[in-house]
Structures are given as C-alpha cells and as structure tokens.
C-alpha cells in the first residue's frame, strides 16, 4: 500500500526532487509565494525497508527486549546482585541476554545502549551478530537523556537532536535497524502545555531524522506512573499527549507505516488507592489508542514502567482478547530482566538458569501478545511491583 515516493539526491547546487522520473525544480517565482511542500518525500528512499523492519518487529507472538539502560542505570542493576559497575560486568550481563538460545522465537528486536552496540562477547563475537543470528533485530537508544525544562513546572525534556543524523547513520552502518527515544510527562507536575509540546516536537524531529537514515523510530512519550491520580486522569493526559505527538509527526512528514509506538498503559497513578484490573487497564488503554493512533501504524509495543512482571504480562494479555487495528505487544526492560538478574546473581554457574528465566518471561509475554496467557504457576517474585518513585534511567 505504500506508493513509490520520490528520491532526493543532494547535488552540489542543492537538493533536487524527482517524482516518478520527472525532475521538479523549485521555480524562483513560486518560492516567493508560499513555501508548501508539493508532496511528501518521506524517508529519503528507505521507506520500503522501514515498513518491512517495522512489520517484522511487530510480528505475531513477538515483542521487544529493552536492554538499553545507560551505564549508570545498568550499574544499579549490577549493584543489586553485588557486582561492580564496569565494562566487563556490563558486557557479561548483556552477553547473557543476547546469547540466550531460542530467544528469537519470542523476541523480535532488542534495544541497546551505544556501548553495547559496539561491544563483542567475551569470545569475540559482535553483540549485533549474536542478535541477528538469533533472529532478533538490533535497535539503539539515541536520546541523550532527560534534563530540566526551563520555564516549566519542574518538568523535563529529552535531549539528543544535535548531530543525530550522523549518529543514526553510523548506527545503521553498525547494524542497528531501529531506534528509541524516551521522553516523559509527569501528571503531578501538570503536565504543562509546554512540557507536552516539547515532548511531542522532540519526538517528531527525532522520528523524521531516523527515517531519513534508515532507522525505524520507536516513539515513546512515557506518561509517568508517579502520582496519586485516578485512571480517568491518566486517560485524559494520554489523549492530550498522543494528539500532539501525531500532529507533529505529520507536520514533520514522518511515514506512519514505518514507525512503532511505545506508550505507557493507561493505569491509575502508583499512589492511587483505587487500583484497576487488567480488563480495566485494557479497556482504557485501547480506548485511548483508538482515539489517537491512525491504523497505518503497524505496532504498539508497551513499556512496563514499574509494573511487576506478572502485572505487565496480564495487562498485555487483556489487551489482546480481540483483534486490534495494530499489533499490540511489549517492549519491556525491567519486566523481562528482573527475574533474570535475581537468578544470575552475577555468578557464571547460574548463567544457564538465568537464560532459562529470561525465556520463561519472554514466552509469557509472547503468549500474552497472542491473548493466550495464564498467570497460574507464576513465581511469587514475578508478582512484585517494581515501581520506584522518581525513577530515572
């Protein structure tokens, strides 16, 4: 369904646009009138590949393993099992995850931090090669983190646009085929119109630049779990945020068939006394998505954001009890890694057991994607919440 779009070629005199073989050079007279784009030249020739990558990631029964924690955050993970935060330990941990046999049956993509994208295993194989051989598409976190947003109500914005085009081009060369950028909005702090606009605009610019260099952008405006607000408030805020996000994505001529979304589920705030069942979470979340997400988007990969492993799986399962216009799946970090870490404890002799633990969680979420998961037989630890107030990556 994607029509052939024009290719742009940069020549020494500037950019020439061509459409179906006919050159259209901007006339001087017309340029003085209005500056309208004649039609969208989207994704600079990568459009077919982007669509294919996005569809492959959004394939039935599969989701994303997020292992893109910054070094500082990875350090927290390692510390929880008594390990020092150094490159060797980070390599060992990521190696454990990336070389898990059979992982590709449940995992279609893995998001990495820059260090890991360029790392090799202890026996000299590139991490990206391990993933690709396992049938998993490598992805890369490209944002440069959250910083305070001046003029706001103590809110944040996400940095990373400077030099993004050359970074993404280099990542593509290294083997990455999709990217991720996480920005946040906070309900206890408003969110202010400024914060929402900045979050949406940053995502839109990032997405356009990624597509231009061949990476499928995962669009992630996380509505933080922090707060004591009810589920109705979360719904309202999520609708506001996604409305702006899609508007700005369209303004930036982003190809919707070549993106993936990473929303937070619509739940009550972490400190709200009124909790919600998985069915309610599903109902609210799907309502929000139906109201805001054009069906052209191939996949919606939810973040877990502090839910327990079982909670995250149950909620995903509830959302897949009837057909959706887009693939509804997962992009989980903590909700896939928690049990793995606890099993591994940093000990090489626990490697196999830890990898098995990863497969257990991955398979559970795969079943949830197909709407066939049951929580019977799940371990107690898997049900423990992982919410951390004011959590930073």
């Amino acid at each position: 369904m994607v029509a052939a779009v024009g290719m742009s070629q940069v020549s020494s005199s500037g950019i020439k646009w061509s459409f179906c073989g006919t050159s259209l050079e901007r006339k001087a007279a017309a340029a003085s009138k209005a500056t309208n784009v004649a039609f969208a030249v989207r994704a600079a020739g990568y459009d077919e590949e982007l669509v294919k990558t996005a569809k492959t990631i959004a394939s039935p029964g599969r989701g994303i393993l997020a292992i893109d924690e910054s070094n500082a955050t990875c350090g927290k993970r390692l510390a929880s099992v008594g390990l020092e935060n150094n490159e060797v330990n980070r390599q060992a941990y990521r190696q454990l995850l990336c070389t898990t046999p059979g992982l590709g049956e449940y995992i279609s993509g893995a998001i990495m931090f820059e260090e890991t994208l360029y790392q090799s295993t202890s026996d000299g194989r590139k991490m990206v090669d391990c993933l690709v051989e396992g049938g998993i598409i490598p992805g890369i976190k490209v944002d440069k983190g959250l910083v305070p947003l001046a003029g706001s109500n103590d809110e944040s914005w996400c940095q990373g646009l400077d030099g993004l085009a050359s970074r993404t081009a280099a990542y593509y060369k290294q083997g990455a085929r999709f990217a991720k950028w996480r920005t946040v909005v906070s309900i206890p702090n408003g969110p202010s119109e400024l914060a929402v606009t900045e979050a949406a605009w940053g995502l839109a610019r990032y997405a356009a630049i990624c597509q231009d260099t061949g990476l499928v952008p995962i669009v992630e405006p996380e509505v933080l779990l922090d707060g004591s607000h009810g589920i109705d408030t979360t719904l309202e805020v999520a609708e506001r945020v996604w409305s702006k996000v899609f508007y700005f994505l369209a303004e930036n001529n982003v190809l919707f068939e070549g993106i993936l979304l990473k929303p937070s589920m619509v739940t009550p705030g972490a400190e709200c006394p009124e909790r919600a069942t998985p069915e309610q979470v599903a109902e609210y979340t799907l309502k929000m998505l139906r109201r805001r997400v054009p069906p052209a988007v191939p996949g919606i990969m939810f973040l877990s954001g502090g839910q327990s492993e079982v909670e995250a799986t149950l909620n995903l399962n509830a959302m897949n009890q009837s057909p959706n216009p887009w693939h509804v799946s997962f992009s989980y970090a903590r909700a896939l890694q928690n049990s793995v870490l606890k099993t591994w404890k940093g000990q090489p002799e626990n490697l196999e057991a830890a990898q098995k633990a990863l497969l257990v969680r991955a398979k559970a979420n795969s079943l949830a994607q197909l709407g066939k998961y049951s929580a019977e037989g799940e371990a107690k630890e898997a049900k423990e919440g992982m919410f951390v107030k004011g959590y930073t990556y």
Partner: protein, 411 residues
Amino acid sequence: MVGRAMELAAATRSAFLGNGVESCLSPKACRSSFRTPTTTTTPGQIVMTSNFEKTNPYADELKKTAAFISAPGKGILASDESNATTGKRLATVGLDNTVENRQAWRELLYSAPGLGNYISGTIMFDETLFQSSRAGVPFVDILKEQGILPGIKVDTGLQPIDGTDGETATQGLDGLAERCQRYYKQGARFAKWRAVLKVDNEVLPSSTAILENAHGLARYAQICQANGLVPIVEPEVTLGEGDYSIERTAYISEKVNSHVFRLLNEYNVILEGILLKPNMILPGLDVPTPAPEEVARYTVRTMFRSVPGAVPGIHFLSGGMSEEEATLNLQALQAYGPTPWSLTFSYGRALQSSTLKMWAGQEENWQAAQERLVALAKANSDAQLGKYKGPHPSPGGQRILQALRLGGAGK
C-alpha cells in the same frame, strides 16, 4: 497556563477522590493499600475522559446514532442543497425554483419505497426539515417510517478568505447552539458542515485556509455534540481544475485531516460520536480519470494514515464523480478491509442526478424516478458490502461538476 493545569489536576483529583478519602492522598498512608486490587468501574462501563464528555447528557446517544448511521450496507443521502443550489438543479429539468417544486422533489426522494433498506440518514436543508409532503405529512415522520434518521446542514455557506487565492472559510458558528437545539427538537439527530479546500501543484491550500477551516469544523463539531447532534465533519479537498497528481491530493488530504483531528482533540470532541465526510483521492481534472483500484489504494492509505479507529464511519462525498464512478470507487475501497471504521457513502449528486432527470417534474414519471433512486441506493449499499455487481442503474455518466458558490446560504 501551568497554574491552570495544576488547578485542573487538583480539581480532577479531588473530584475523583471526593467522598472522605482525602487522608489517602498521603503516600505513606496508602502504601499498604497499594497492592490491594479494588475495582472502580466494572468492565464494559462507559469510560469518560474530558469534562465535556463526562457532563454531556447526549454522550451515549451520540455514539449510538453514529454507529447506526455507519452500519454495514448503509449510507447517507445528501439532500441538503440550499435553496439557491436546488434552484440550479431544478432549472436543469426546466422547473422553477419555488417552494412547491422543492417540496415535491424532496417528497419524491424521502417517500421512495424501500429506501430505508440502504439509507440510514439523510441530510436536509433548514427549509426541508420543517416541510411536509403535499398531503401534509411531515418529512421527519415519513423518514422515521422508513427507518431513516433526519440530519441537517447547519453551516451558512462559504465566504472568501481575503488575501488568499480564492480560498474560502465556512460560516455558521453564530447562534449555532440555538439552531442545533431547534433542529434536535424537530427530530434531527445529526448535522453537517462543509469546509472546502482548494488544491493545486504548489501553493494551495494555504496554511491560512487549512487552519481556518479546521477551526470552524472543530468548533462546529463540539457545539453540535453539546446539543445532541452527531456532527459530520467534512473537510473537502475539492476536485478542481489543473494537472495536480493523485499523490499531491493524497498528501494534502493527509495534512488537512491531521489539522482537523488535532483541533477536534483540542476541543474534546468525542470521536466515537462523529462521522467523517472526506473526498476520495483523485487527481486534478486535467489528469485522466484513474481506475477505481488506484483511487481506492490512495484513498484507503490516506484514511489509514489520518483517521483514528474511534471514528465509526467514513462517508465519502461524491463531489463530481459520475454516478457509476461513485459506486465503482466505493466498491474498490472494500478490498482493503478489515478497517476499524466503515468505508461508506454520503452521496448527493451521485444519487440524485439521474433521478431528477427521470422525474423532470412530471407526475407520470414519479414512480420510475423513485425506483431509480432506490436502485442507485442499493448499488451503493452493495458496493459498501463489497458485493456490487453491474450493470449500474446509471452507467457511463460524465463527471457532475458544480462551481463553488460563495455568499450566505440562500433563503
């Protein structure tokens, strides 16, 4: 702005936790109850969001009405031509533009036997909503008998936007709420407002025109919903002179829809309670008419890219397509299912053109004309279900073009 957001957040919190649960706002006190699952709403209960939706007594009804109109195999008969435009149509068969002639013409349409099998709603002009048949039966009653919901055109016509290249804004917001209430009382359950955008190879539509028309549609939609009428949102990228490509129309239509939905969202319009009435994606008049499959491909792609699934029905306007073209194109769309919204029709000219010619104001042609109308409606109903097989009741016609008419809606 931030202070206001905080106010709203606080108000929502206290409204939600109202009755004596204030002590639980302290995080420590709540830690123990954090993990206890308690349900608030039962699954399947209406999920409210904005204050507008929460406090709107029509919210439920709007959604039901929109679902009814966009049901499978059904579409809309657009018969809301202003008196001035109706006059032009009547003139083509040699009839004067009188109240009686307009009344007779609409009576022919609304009382056509079996029309309700294929038509779920008909858009009317102000005069017609309050008219009766020549025997004195109110049109709204005739339609009710047929199982057809009355709708009402509420805009008051196009005006030029100064400083643009012939672009227009749509009027009608003043006093709209009162008019909606009056129309609802009379039996109307949906409304329509036509925004028009011109397109060319380079500069049209201007961002001015897009913003103006998107704003008008969003305000109109909200006011309608506040007063019980399902708004048909019609951002028509009009078929016009020129050699602009189908790709160009697709791109512009995406842009326009993006602006429209952004503003609908800003005004908290309940998307499950609207219907969209867009153009099919066609190139300029100087480009050879594309095959239905090509039109369908671009049209569905545009809809997939710009219309959230919450909208229950997309009712395409016929906008100059011949009667047969309108049916064939509608059928071709269905090959791209399943879709979250129904892809159906809201046709004026494509249901009325040959019907009018057959009647030509002659009593003896009355039945034949009605049969033509119903045959056309059935063809399009079949097409909506993907089941249309020829021959078409009105084959091989030419494009049925009409110039943009400026000025207020004629009396």
